[in-house]
């Protein structure tokens, strides 16, 4: 995407990968009666993502996908290990990292009474974007994601989930992120909206050259969009490789078979409780 105003932090040291995760671990403490129990929700996991690459992380509910995204989004602190985004330490230099990333999550989180334009406008200000720029850029980006401008001044609560998710994509792209974190961006969307969002993700990669980490439990989506696919199971990254290699490795014909072969899994109550 050729934004008129790329305020993202300059991406330093171009030889380094976009994302470097090293032995990253996160535990939570859960109260059980009078005692507190430590539950490991992620890791230790290690992997890296090259610049411009799209990596999908597959996993069931409670596998640690959202925890991984929240760690990389500077919303959680690590218990061990580390992570770097374009060479910047996620936990020691959060402000630098925040300028380089944006995120679209399963819930299109907005002030529901505010309009799409109002939600995008104030959020852009947090990234240092001026009003005279956003006045031009917001309608342009909304049009690009296929959002009807006639609906842009009405309250968000009157929009369908698909439309809200398009506004969420527009919000993320408005800040020209070098790394886009997508946490189940198409979950709950109707097939048409899902395809539109997926098309747009492809376009963002093609035009903007953004690096993408896509967390999903939609196997077809992962195979369609990503160069490499990782399987996260009970907080452990079982593998990270191109989809075809995963199929070969697990002797499977489809990614779905490979996934079940790798995890051997049915969802347990314990897993559901982890996130």
């Amino acid at each position: 995407m050729s934004s008129a105003f790329a305020f993202s932090q300059p991406v330093s040291d171009r030889a380094r990968p976009a994302v470097e995760v090293s032995c990253l671990r996160k535990d939570f403490r859960r109260r059980e009666g009078l005692r507190r129990r430590r539950i490991s929700v992620l890791g230790p996991v290690s992997f890296s993502i090259e610049r411009g690459e799209c990596v999908a992380i597959l996993g069931q509910n409670g596998s640690g996908k959202s925890t991984l995204v929240r760690l990389l989004s500077t919303l959680l602190l690590e218990d061990a290990g580390g992570a770097r985004i374009f060479g910047h330490d996620v936990f020691r230099e959060p402000r630098r990292v925040q300028r380089l990333i944006n995120r679209v999550s399963v819930e299109a989180s907005f002030f529901k009474r505010l309009s799409a334009i109002e939600n995008l406008s104030y959020a852009a200000r947090f990234y240092g974007l001026r009003r005279r720029d956003t006045n031009v850029e917001i309608p342009r980006i909304l049009e690009r994601v296929g959002f009807p401008l006639a609906r842009a001044t009405g309250p968000m609560e009157e929009l369908s989930r698909g439309m809200q998710q398009k506004v969420a994509l527009a919000r993320a792209l408005l800040t020209s992120p070098a790394l886009l974190l997508l946490d189940e961006p198409t979950t709950g969307l109707d097939p048409r909206s899902k395809l539109e969002v997926q098309d747009f993700i492809r376009e963002v990669r093609r035009v903007h050259d953004a690096t993408i980490l896509l967390c999903t439990h939609d196997l077809a989506e992962a195979e369609e969009l990503a160069e490499r696919v990782g399987i996260l199971h009970r907080g452990e990254l079982l593998c990270l490789a191109p989809a075809d290699e995963l199929k070969r490795r697990y002797g499977a014909e489809t990614l779905e078979e490979a996934f079940f072969s790798a995890t051997g899994a049915v969802l347990t109550e314990e897993e559901e409780a982890r996130e």
Binding site: R70, S73, L76, S105, E118, A123, F126
Partner: protein, 277 residues
């Protein structure tokens, strides 16, 4: 030098984003704002009528002065409620709307985030308090010929620095206790005003409460506001109450920021920085 200017511009832009967002919210909930104003008005009237009620019991009081005295207490309570309310509910509201993660992962410094919220609270509080004052003064035909409103405005602005600082300290409560944090914030507001002589002179309080009154900025704010509006004291004459508020403000704002920073680290450590709490 240029880098510093760019960073500063970006910070101020972030601060303006907070003010912009809250302005949109007020505009979108304008009918609720009017309903809230009616509630505040009813609350203020119920307190201010106490002066007239006392007169009817046979007590000898200067009703005009007593009415003004109580009115200023009620206005400060209402003003503080607006500033504290915005700061305390900042986290809770974002959690409810689901925007908390987006706001906290944005490159917006926490100081600008909190100061922006406090600044909006002050602007919004001033408008609402002025409107409330005009309506109640008209309702009671209050005569305040010597009032120095400029001095009152200066006092309220100076007091607001420390109110924002203390509000920042309370705004951390919903971050570390998603269920009950907001209520604890309101308790803090009530305690601050009860020791500060909101509807009475501080001298009627027990000794230990008077000691607490000395470190409360609301004590100085209430006294100075009464002096400026009832007795017509100017800024120069109020300096004795203004400088303690400045000192408390200089301490309270950085302390509030530090407390919030620690609360945020706790929330990030324990996974509380998310919509469901």
């Amino acid at each position: 030098m240029r880098g510093t200017a760019t960073a500063l511009r970006s910070e101020l832009m972030g601060l303006s984003g907070i003010v912009e967002r809250n302005t949109y919210i007020i505009r979108r909930y304008i009918w609720w704002e009017l309903a809230w104003f009616v509630w505040t008005l009813a609350n203020t009237l119920s307190i201010v009528f106490i002066a007239k009620g006392f007169q009817q019991t046979g007590a000898r009081i200067d009703v005009n002065k007593a009415t003004s005295w109580l009115l200023i207490g009620a206005l400060v309570w209402s003003y503080l409620g607006m500033v504290f309310g915005l700061l305390v509910e900042m986290v809770q509201w974002e959690r409810w709307e689901g925007t908390i993660e987006h706001t906290f992962m944005a490159p917006l410094s926490r100081s600008m985030h909190l100061l922006g919220t406090g600044l909006f609270g002050v602007l919004y509080g001033l408008v609402r308090t002025a409107a409330l004052f005009v309506v109640v003064a008209f309702f009671f035909h209050l005569s305040l010929p010597g009032a120095d409103y400029l001095a009152a405005l200066v006092v309220l602005l100076v007091a607001s620095i420390s109110f924002i600082g203390i509000g920042m300290m309370t705004s951390v409560l919903p971050l570390i206790s998603p269920e009950k944090g907001v209520q604890l914030g309101y308790i803090a507001q009530g305690l601050l005003l009860v020791v500060s002589g909101v509807y009475y002179n501080v001298s009627v309080l027990p000794g230990w409460m008077q000691a607490l009154a000395r470190i409360s900025p609301a004590t100085y704010a209430l006294r100075a506001l009464r002096s400026s509006i009832i007795d017509g004291a100017g800024v120069h004459a109020l300096w004795g109450d203004i400088w303690p508020m400045l000192v408390i403000g200089v301490i309270a704002v950085p302390l509030g920021l530090e407390i919030f920073r620690r609360g945020e680290r706790y929330a990030k450590r324990h996974g509380k920085l998310k919509r469901s709490g």
